[in-house]
Amino acid sequence: MKIAVCVKQVPDTWAEKKLRGDDSTLDREAADGVMNELDEYAVEEALKLQEAHGGEITIVTMGPERAGETVRKALSMGADAAVHLVDDTLHGSDALATSYALATVLDGRDFDLIFFGSESTDARMSVVPAMVAERLGVAQLTFAQKVDVDGTSVTIQRVTDYGFETVVASLPAVVSVVEKINEPRYPSFKGIMAAKKKPVETLSTADAGLDGSRLGLAAAWTVVEDFAARPPKATGTIVTDDGDGGVKLAEFLAVQKFI
């Protein structure tokens, strides 16, 4: 089985995130980069399927030079190889451009399964997996809390507002995962050493056969007009319960007209 896992480098989960003053894109220099948390779950799920069914796992990322760190992390968890699409002209790509670039890199490589996280922690759009499925013309199985593969088909439990749906498709398919699915492993020392020797294919947009007029900030379908930091919230009233904490809270709610 050939498995791809799309991973995105994002600012450290706990770091304060900012937009850049010059072009309103995410300020990636302001914080350490880490692998998007949910993408670790996607890598883990791919590794588990590989343990059960064999096959090869390829990490796919689009991002600046330093996203190479995230690629290494995925390789040190156990993935076999990676494709890193890196090109200055990709800077500022929106969801249409990103899905176009990823789909083009994935296309023609005969993947049976393409894993994603279900949402990034920076832009949080939660659309890229569905958009890549649309572009590739393969089944979309997203928000999976459980994945089973039997050789020719894949079954997931798709988390919904009211519980879950069981969704089935023939391979190939796009699968995005939620955090209930597994517990991602930490890279072992051996894994970290082995990762250094694993092949990473670095592609420019030209190498990937991408049409430059559909990429980057200048080609975006959306534009940021302006942005501003929200003024910090005024500090609230904090009281210590001396036996009347509930009553004080009720008074606050009454003043605010909630009761």
Partner: protein, 317 residues
């Protein structure tokens, strides 16, 4: 005036509150036409859509539209966009709504903006990003603008109209049928307001200690007519069902009032509730990071504070 498509969110034939909000917002952009996709269109649904100003409703009624996730919905919408050239498409920012928007964007080669909390008459969207710390104004510059809009961002205002029903039949493509829903597991409904749409949410976390502990959370929620939420620590422990999880990988809520009890305030929890208008925190640890967001906080044992609050509200009622 130009036509604005508003995708109706519905469950069991009932139109969700977010749809009334979107219709209200759409009236500031043009003439709203609702789009109903899936089985169960009925008079009650029509009444709600008309009450909030939909002049038309395109009805694609049939199980085939929901027996395959997301893709058929995007096909119906792409079809309507090419036939009627609306000036914008509004969809609720639910998981399905966002994915539908994404697929539609590709089909009609248009830009998409997700999680808008407002849209001005000249179609500039307001987004609240990075956990509410930054406000962004953005717009779509290519194609028919597609917006997904967060629940609870526009107060619904009725504006009665006569609703005209237009039936549409869009065959579901081979591609959209590749993924098939073979079963639905419906978690027990609790009779409380929908979590994502509720005006008040009362949440419990690890501090609640056990499944039985949620009785005090539910009692408070019921005196306030609120929905119940939970942190991942509480859902993972099996104390409360997963569909009530608030946070990055649970529901995003933006109620008028959010009461967090025994929740420390991890970044992933904040991601789902940070834009709540008023935040109340009850935690026995004065250092709990969620106090940073609190408009009002009580440092104390939730098993003392919460029941006392419930009693006090009942007394005042």
């Amino acid at each position: 005036m130009s036509e604005v498509l508003v995708v109706a969110e519905h469950a069991d034939g009932v139109v969700k509150k977010v749809t009334s909000e979107l219709l209200t917002l759409a009236r500031t952009l043009g003439e709203p036409s609702a789009v109903w996709i899936g089985p169960g269109y009925c008079d009650a649904a029509a009444a709600t859509l008309g009450e909030f100003g939909a002049g038309k409703v395109y009805v694609a009624d049939g199980a085939q539209y929901i027996d395959h996730p997301v893709a058929p919905r995007a096909e119906v919408l792409a079809n309507l966009v090419s036939e009627h050239s609306p000036s914008a498409v509004l969809i609720a920012s639910s998981a399905d709504g966002k994915e539908t928007a994404g697929r539609l964007a590709i089909k009609i080669n248009s830009g998409v903006i997700t999680d808008a909390i407002g849209i001005s008459a000249d179609r500039i969207a307001t987004q609240s990003v990075f956990g509410g710390s930054t406000v962004v104004h953005s717009k779509v510059i290519k194609g028919t603008p597609i917006f997904t809009v967060r629940p609870n961002s526009t107060p619904p205002v009725p504006a009665s109209t006569t609703l005209t029903r237009v039936d549409v039949t869009v065959p579901v493509s081979e591609l959209a049928m590749k993924a098939k829903v073979t079963g639905r597991t419906v978690a027990q409904k609790d009779g409380r307001p929908d979590l994502a749409e509720a005006a008040i949410v009362v949440s419990g976390g690890r501090g609640v200690g056990a499944a039985e502990g949620f009785a005090v959370i539910e009692a408070l929620a019921d005196t306030l007519g609120a929905a119940v939420g939970a942190s991942r620590a509480a859902t993972d422990a099996g104390w409360y069902p997963h569909q009530y999880q608030v946070g990055q990988t649970g529901k995003t809520v933006s109620p008028q009032l959010y009461l967090a009890n025994g929740i420390s305030g991890a970044i992933q929890h904040r991601a789902g509730m940070q834009t709540s208008k008023t935040i109340v925190v009850v935690n026995k640890d004065s250092e709990a990071p969620l106090f940073e967001l609190a408009d009002f906080g009580v440092v104390g044992d939730l098993f003392k504070v919460v029941p006392q609050l419930t009693e006090e509200i009942k007394k005042r009622a």
